[in-house]
Symmetry: C2
Subunit: 410 residues, 2 copies
């Protein structure tokens, strides 16, 4: 096929690029899934062929991320937004079962707010938990920002003030809009302060939104998390699939909790319903699971997470070096403080009137799309998910370097 | 392409068959969506190209089903199961705004139970509405069944006992598991008794689950419905997309209702959030929308709903004639009472030891799959969704006729 001839480099923030070889395999699967004579968009989710595929997909996630047997891997729909509500409902139910007489004031929900998505998650928690629990902001990164109002950093460890026994502790590992991410090196001041969690060593209800950094590198201290979730549409597949990693103690009988006063949990948001049905309570997003499964198989063939971590590190370093060069020469302005930069979404501003427009038009002319920053913050955003190749990054960096030279000269 | 060579006739109940020409078009779209150089599984849901596609998709539904301007067409995820909860939450919020002081006893939710799916919907309503409303069974079809325990009929009009001013009235137009469907001819005793709705002529909160009969023929008295919903994965697309048709008065400010005591509605289940964002609050199931959009375009080219209604009628008549013949000759037993048979899911039993197994194996040998009845009821189920061709039905009927002859002769 000459499929790659028509294709542009897609640096969009999500839905985002997928490997061409996977798309070509999916083309065949659309007509005939694994020799069944039925296409993947048509086959029963209860067919033995699809169930075997899902089992293998789950196993690949478990192996590559080293998910311990204490945690279930579940598949659902509705993206991060559905999980904003689901984690609150399921973990309030868990808390109700553990503390049947806790007052709403005693029932705290701790939110770490480091960007647009964790801010939204906290707002949804306030809606859903109203009358049942108290949403606390553990830390608000804007307080530590350069301009006093932007999300441009991960605050210092000492500033994280967790409750003694919260119903949940929430953070967003990578902020897709703001380009801020927790460092994975535990020694970095921008890493997540696991050691401050209370009570130390217990089954802390720690929730992480990994939507835009899932499967780009290993997850630090995965086993210490209660719930990790991610939409597939960044690193591993099309939109329509959400992956959950849930510790067994967080899969609770929500109906018993409701009898004790907790809010009833809609079937589709109940972790217990998902777990009891092996993620097949109702029809899942079969095609999205299929493509994500193909992506995971490809990752395995290409050396697994260690390989992707090394490549993704190089890709990010190249782009940040170009941003730095632009800043030195007065053409770009970096937006995120040092140490808190995202590997997946590098954001910066292009200085000067109409310069951003010129940057975007020039990039598109050279076959590179999706570089416009989120509408709420503007600027440029370069998303560097797994399917973005080093060649594509090199091409972008060459364009950036030339752009800097041209503008510097003016 | 020789794609059709490998393909079998897929009579599965859902996910189910799609037109080969649509799948071939989707193959191209996977690599390059409408000349963007980006595949449909990779493109931003906020790109102008995809938004134009969604607008056209919505317009096609509106035109073909003749949806009046009083009703919004919305797209979401989570299938019928998500809507089991969503309709209860949204319509309880609406009722709370209309009747701020109504007690749970005064707040009735009327369920018409004619099969496995409406039974499940009523069970979910009991969970979700607990403490806020009272779920009533308007009629239970099992009472009118031949064996006193099966869902095999639509009960007579006189038996539908609606509340005076319920928060919602719920029915499932076609019961996919049981093969029972409301007749579309208003003169039939198995039609929905619209004229018994109270208060007559007012904005009755009538909810219909059209999951397995959406877009197979026109919807009777569509404008009289408050909410109609359907999963795409039967007649028009892959799993992962739910289509909603919601009357404006049912898109309510759920947060104000919550302040008056209603249960908070998770963002993903709020009709107001969907409507305010034109169904793009968060990332939708882009690929499923795309394929469903292609199917609707194809329907338009082929003569629209009138054409499909005529073809589907012939398909159903042929299959029921074969079932009738089998019953006459003691080989099959029909399961559904006359007048209540589904156009989309024809169910019957094969009599005699191992005969069902023989039927299924014989059909599969002849390239026909998906004929096994739902695991909860057994028997044979022939699903006759739009993508099933008359040629495929003729082939199945020929097989059934031969099967009857063979078994009769034994």
């Amino acid at each position: 096929m000459n499929s790659d001839l028509v294709r542009v480099a897609n640096f969009g923030a999500g839905p985002s690029a997928l490997p061409l070889s996977v798309l070509e395999e999916a083309q065949k699967g659309l007509i005939d899934f694994n020799g069944t004579g039925i296409g993947i968009a048509e086959i029963s989710h209860r067919s033995k062929e699809f169930q075997a595929f899902v089992d293998q997909f789950e196993q690949n996630i478990r192996t590559q991320l080293d998910v311990p047997s204490t945690h279930r891997i579940l598949f659902t729909q509705g993206g991060g937004t559905a999980q904003f509500s689901a984690v609150v409902l399921n973990l309030l139910a868990r808390h109700r079962l553990l503390h049947p007489n806790a007052t709403p004031e005693e029932t705290t929900l701790d939110y770490v707010v480091t960007g647009s998505w964790s801010k939204k998650a906290a707002e949804e928690a306030r809606r859903i938990a109203a009358g049942h629990g108290t949403v606390r902001t553990v830390v608000d990164a804007r307080v530590y920002s350069k301009d006093g109002k932007s999300f441009d950093n991960i605050p210092p460890h000492a500033e994280f003030q967790f409750s003694p026994a919260p119903a949940l502790i929430y953070y967003c590992e990578n902020e897709t809009v703001d380009g801020v991410e927790f460092a994975h090196d535990a020694a970095s001041p921008a890493s997540f302060p696991f050691d401050r969690l209370q009570p130390a060593g217990a089954l802390v209800p720690l929730v992480a939104d990994y939507s835009s950094s899932f499967m780009c590198r290993p997850i630090p201290r995965l086993a210490d998390h209660a719930v990790i979730y991610a939409g597939a549409q960044k690193n591993i597949g099309p939109a329509g699939l959400t992956i959950l990693i849930v510790r067994e103690d967080c899969i609770v009988d929500v109906d018993t909790a409701a009898k004790l006063g907790a809010t009833p949990v809609p079937l589709i948001l109940s972790y217990k319903v998902l777990a009891d049905s092996k993620s097949l309570y109702n029809t899942p997003s079969v095609f999205a699971i299929y493509v994500a499964g193909l992506v995971l198989e490809r990752m395995k063939r290409h050396g697994g997470l260690a390989h992707y971590e090394a490549v993704n590190k190089r890709k990010a370093e190249k782009v940040y070096a170009a941003i730095e060069e632009g800043e030195q020469k007065g053409v770009f302005r970096r937006k995120v403080q040092q140490g808190s930069e995202s590997w997946m979404n590098a954001v910066f501003e292009v200085l000067g009137e109409d310069a951003e427009k010129k940057f975007l038009e020039g990039a598109e002319k050279d076959g590179m799309k999706g570089l416009k920053g989120h509408r709420s913050v503007g600027g440029i955003r370069v998303s560097l998910y797994n399917a973005i190749t080093e060649e594509e990054v090199d091409k972008l960096v060459a364009f950036m370097t030339q752009f800097i030279e041209d503008l510097k000269a003016v």
